[in-house]
Subunit: 459 residues, 4 copies
Amino acid sequence: MYGHREAANFTYLGLYALQHRGQESSGIVSSDGQNFYVEKGMGLVSDIFTKKTIRCLRGNKAIGHNRYSTSGDSHFRNVQPLTVNFALGNLAVAHNGNLLNASILRSELEAYGSIFQSDSDTEVVIHLMAHSKGDTLLERLIEALFLMRGAYSLVLLSDHDLIAVRDPYGFRPLCLGKWKDAWVVASESCAFDLIGAEFIRAVEPGELIVFNDKGMTSHHPFAVPEKPAQCVFEYVYFSRPDSKIFGNHVVYPIRKALGRQLAKEAHVPADVVIPVPDSGVPAALGYAEGSGIPFEIGLTRNHYIGRTFIEPEQSIRHFGVKLKLNTVPDVLKGQRVVVVDDSIVRGTTSRKIVKLIRNAGAREIHMRISSPPTIAPCFYGIDTPTQKELIGSNHSIEEIRKYVTADSLQYLSLEGMLNAVPGCNDHYCHACFTEQYPIPFTKAEERQLGLFDGHSANR
Amino acid sequence: MYGHREAANFTYLGLYALQHRGQESSGIVSSDGQNFYVEKGMGLVSDIFTKKTIRCLRGNKAIGHNRYSTSGDSHFRNVQPLTVNFALGNLAVAHNGNLLNASILRSELEAYGSIFQSDSDTEVVIHLMAHSKGDTLLERLIEALFLMRGAYSLVLLSDHDLIAVRDPYGFRPLCLGKWKDAWVVASESCAFDLIGAEFIRAVEPGELIVFNDKGMTSHHPFAVPEKPAQCVFEYVYFSRPDSKIFGNHVVYPIRKALGRQLAKEAHVPADVVIPVPDSGVPAALGYAEGSGIPFEIGLTRNHYIGRTFIEPEQSIRHFGVKLKLNTVPDVLKGQRVVVVDDSIVRGTTSRKIVKLIRNAGAREIHMRISSPPTIAPCFYGIDTPTQKELIGSNHSIEEIRKYVTADSLQYLSLEGMLNAVPGCNDHYCHACFTEQYPIPFTKAEERQLGLFDGHSANR
Amino acid sequence: MYGHREAANFTYLGLYALQHRGQESSGIVSSDGQNFYVEKGMGLVSDIFTKKTIRCLRGNKAIGHNRYSTSGDSHFRNVQPLTVNFALGNLAVAHNGNLLNASILRSELEAYGSIFQSDSDTEVVIHLMAHSKGDTLLERLIEALFLMRGAYSLVLLSDHDLIAVRDPYGFRPLCLGKWKDAWVVASESCAFDLIGAEFIRAVEPGELIVFNDKGMTSHHPFAVPEKPAQCVFEYVYFSRPDSKIFGNHVVYPIRKALGRQLAKEAHVPADVVIPVPDSGVPAALGYAEGSGIPFEIGLTRNHYIGRTFIEPEQSIRHFGVKLKLNTVPDVLKGQRVVVVDDSIVRGTTSRKIVKLIRNAGAREIHMRISSPPTIAPCFYGIDTPTQKELIGSNHSIEEIRKYVTADSLQYLSLEGMLNAVPGCNDHYCHACFTEQYPIPFTKAEERQLGLFDGHSANR
Amino acid sequence: MYGHREAANFTYLGLYALQHRGQESSGIVSSDGQNFYVEKGMGLVSDIFTKKTIRCLRGNKAIGHNRYSTSGDSHFRNVQPLTVNFALGNLAVAHNGNLLNASILRSELEAYGSIFQSDSDTEVVIHLMAHSKGDTLLERLIEALFLMRGAYSLVLLSDHDLIAVRDPYGFRPLCLGKWKDAWVVASESCAFDLIGAEFIRAVEPGELIVFNDKGMTSHHPFAVPEKPAQCVFEYVYFSRPDSKIFGNHVVYPIRKALGRQLAKEAHVPADVVIPVPDSGVPAALGYAEGSGIPFEIGLTRNHYIGRTFIEPEQSIRHFGVKLKLNTVPDVLKGQRVVVVDDSIVRGTTSRKIVKLIRNAGAREIHMRISSPPTIAPCFYGIDTPTQKELIGSNHSIEEIRKYVTADSLQYLSLEGMLNAVPGCNDHYCHACFTEQYPIPFTKAEERQLGLFDGHSANR
């Protein structure tokens, strides 16, 4: 947020609304034009910040970040925003996304004498800016951006400016809003809803916006614009259903449309449609609507989730999944059940869910997935396991069905998915479903990401 | 749990499954026949216990408790189970419910030299047992029970016995289960589901069960059995939808039936039915089913809830409710909306919800409540505000409608509710809806509970 | 302190000055006439209290306590002052000393239905008062005192009174002072020095003083006054050298006199006199003065002491003692050294000290002790080990000398000690040196304290 | 320590023995040749480390540091050893001393793109090494040392080497020892005494010692040796009395010699000589010896010191000093008292001490200081206040006497001091007493340190 004397407090509420995007750690940095004020911690937003610490974050501009690690270990030193003091003064950076050439750039910088504080690829941005000979922060940032390959929605804070920038492909969302005279940017519009800010528009792919005491100015530093490659998985799973992302499109009706399309492609006679809560609910409602089969709550979810659970040595069947989910026997007993989920990653959870439903007395279990099979890792900011661990990458759908012990299993088709999401079909990245990565890898990146030796990125 | 060397670990999981019944504090006490092992804390189960602390809770029997305060302040000294060392050895007690004559008994005991450690009415049980001249724990307990008036589902742990007892009215639920050779008791069956125990039956109103190395023995110490007065609000709101309580009845289909009945009694032409999540979901599904109006998710709920939120001085509209709920605009814009909730207590939250929906562009808002108006405080273990604060106690339904700014408001009828729940209509307590308290108050209790001067109990 | 609106803050400073009397835990209770305000914790005074917690301890009267455990385990529930709410209102008690018949009284009280919160013998006082039928606090207290046998300097706080009482033998010190219009009582006068209060006099053995809004009144409830039995070990070791105790007598010159007398009784030709710091310093100065041998610092003490030290597996010689003490080689090398300490308990530390001095190159080591051999446990409030562990109880002086590997060892005589301390020789308890316990034990107490089976008290 | 599998544990004990050199924070870094293991914290050694954390510090070499801040604020990021990962691998550095040109070097490094993590001048060493083009760690270190001006006793740890180096002037002490086959270095020999290591010799001014698997090699990288400028204040006050520093000289007899010399220079007829404890004790003993006036303990010191104290609003006379010191009235009443201290900095404490002694009834008070007046700030690692705050820099001795309200005041002469310490008179730095700084300042340093505008260094 730029331009409100309670900027840090609003930023805190924004982080709270965006907690689903990262639960590992959070931080806020604010500036009053002279000093930076920093508060960071491991854990959830509501545990880290207190009235007192928020009050100490002074100044009329602030940036914040919720982290879920895609690169760099889970250490305090990696908690964002990263802050440094360098030749041009104070600088703080928060980054959503993932750089392809981070470790290559890091090695080069270290050879020139740079010393890194963290494992995070975000720190590369800062050192590139420190090494630039540009006179202004903006010049140095643009020089750094030209060297950075990959996905980034960035916010940067200096003593006088707040800068927001989205990579030329626009992998990750970034929205622009207003709160009276103050400007706000956030990954999703639900952050604006909580604080009562107005959604203006998406920050465009390749756009760089500077906020300072001269107002707001938009830049397009990248000469030749790329075709956008916005993450389709944000619609399928990652964003909150009440958010707008990538323009003026709310997620919930899109998820329902995916479910309706799935009902069309993968009909099966059944008695009830149930979702895997909470993420499968909209698609299951769409499926029920499309198929005419009644929607029911057959699985309940326990939301009092802690970090770790203490399992007795005396083992309990389906222990892990039972901590989150329990069946409602009357809904399932003797029924033909369609269970709708958004995706299958390793298959282990799906298998446990099918067994749980079977134990509750279901006669038939038909699993329906509101996206195509996940076959490839994401290098653009979603934390997927290595390719080897993705059950979709090396098993046929029938093999997966057997593994999860369902009576039938069907996925949504790629075409079905792309037709259900708004805008041009070719403005989305769907590499995790197709292995068609929008940015061609260099040889060094392929080596770095382990793409030749059968392993995925070293994360 | 009685009879398993990992009793404390299973108890911990049971508390985790029952977290919805109390989030203020938790505790577990176990016994190996010689020593008691105690672990207690403020906050959620998943924050209080660690692998290490659970391992220290030795022995093959354990009891646990989640507290949400109906009597006694929120202090560590009130965290249950309460443990003492008295003339017959170690004793621990955990109590769900509320005693009517606790402070009267307390004054009498203090006059005889008793010194209380806590504000909790549960401690009265212990002092009554300490003052009894009975030779055995059982004799002393029964002597104490005869003096106690009100609602109690109790578990007690001594060096050699575990005892479970439910008051003669059976206000609060209590279930009996088995885990292989070990016995388990819990407020709701969802605790059994998590640990994989078998649900046997409800502990009956007025039943007292002793577990020790001679096995399990059932007693019925109360000479003349009372007519049960089981809390109907457990079905309406309090229990988990996947639980069995008060016998072999699952909550979820009963809640749906309340919604179907509501649709019959209070139909209105509309475009969508939406629940107030999460508790309103089953009734809303029932209402949609009964009315034929499509069910939609028009409000999303944020589950990353902390204790306190730091609101900017610059006030935000509907701040409090927005922390939990946000609207999904496409569902509501231009629509005639039926919004279903389980009850209205003070009316303030309902008012904020209606305004939120109105702001999202709804054309008409029809609020439907799946129980009758709440007009009277509960003295049996549900934490209701004083009668003055209950909007239903001193306002007509039309006045409430105006206050919450809905276009229409309808409640389920008492008959409708009692017909939808299982078993005999007159085996339920519905005092919060009717002021018909099953236990006639003594003069002293009326004074104590403030029933004459227009104030409710001094809580 | 009674009668100052910052009573708790002054009490905190008093506890700080008296930290040497107990380092296990501390607590303060204050009263504003209606409520009690309590703050307690494990550890040192300076770690437990904060500006904020002190400010919350409201009211113009307060009592505090530093605990070092002579009875009761080291648990939070034993931290004093103990506070209860009973038939006459709020009550808090802090106790210096030890009761002989605590467990006997406890068993009797439990048979009457009393439930104890702690293991501490102090709680007996409270239950005796709760069971008394007296109308006033004072009547009940006096009734309780008549049943209590042993050593006690007590302060009690009720909603309206502060009461100080010293047992008829006056085992432990208790001083009376004034701060302008307010009254203060403390174990030693050094607490008065810190807060700038004036020392008035000692509270007399058997005296009970009540402070309330009518002023200060002195009572002598015990009909036949006993001959005092004040703890001589307070002069030898326990009190601070700058304190007055047992009247208008400063400790430091008495300790020097013990050293001078020791020089007279146990002269030896030597080059230097060195103390075991810090407690041996005054006696060593007295010895040097008496003998004409130069005083030197041959051992330095490290005051940055934590709770536990992490010793490498690879063992270090004299590890334990080296954490506290190191030698100054130039002082000891080639010298005949007199090393002065106040007492020998188990002998293990003395043995390590002698070896340390020997390693530093001393030619001869003569150990001199400024009190007689410690041969018997204290039952009146000093934490001595069991008789078996006291090296003086079952070994001759020559055997002890051999064990500690000194070239000579001499103790001060009983007569020498009693002549050096002020007042009548027979007004002191010296049971730890003579086994002459001032209060004849009852059979039950002997059993309880294990005096017949060769073991000392079960502590 | 290099070469012992419990290196971190021994390092921890060494830090414990050297706690007097810094109480703000501590840290240990160990290496097993592959990874670095780090544990740091604010506060005392005994509070920071636990058995578990020490056990996690694996490997056979470790360095540690106690910090008391002379440059850089009191933040966690400044806690030493500083650790980085740079082009040559892992590196950790711990620094005792102060660099004159740290901020000048920092600005230059930042202009080349270096980003600093801390405010500490120690980090400059690391960045200089990172920017060097040398092939080996040793080459890079020597290149860095040539650029560093000021006082430094450094230890560095890399994956394979441990390096110790002392600046060419040898301002701060550094000792070399052996523990069986393992090597140890420490600021003072008392660290060796605790772990049972043998003192070998001082590391020489300008000497650089490398420990690795080829053994120990000594280097003298500085071409022209400087005349040493060892800190005389280490003998006067800073080191522990039982330590050897700057060669084979124990501190205690030197301090006594300072006192004896003071008695010769500044005799006064008196009844008692008392020290300001603890640091004034040896000099007071020397004074008593030299003057023939009896030595007494007239002030006692409370060692239970916490960080902060809560003073009542109702002010207490001499509050601050009373927390540490109390008088022993019998020693002082009616006497002519010589009170010996090591130095006077601001004069405020001395003034309070004199008033305390006067209040205790002393007839005459003669203050004697065992060093010359402190007139100038230290830029070599001792934390002195700015010149303006040093009472000796702008007041005559008579003015100081009046301020502290003593009857007489005398300091030791410079010659007296230099004759009492061992070795050549001109091998010591005494700039704080004479303003004769051994290293001529550059213009930039004078600007940086504020030497022209009447303010001292910006600390």
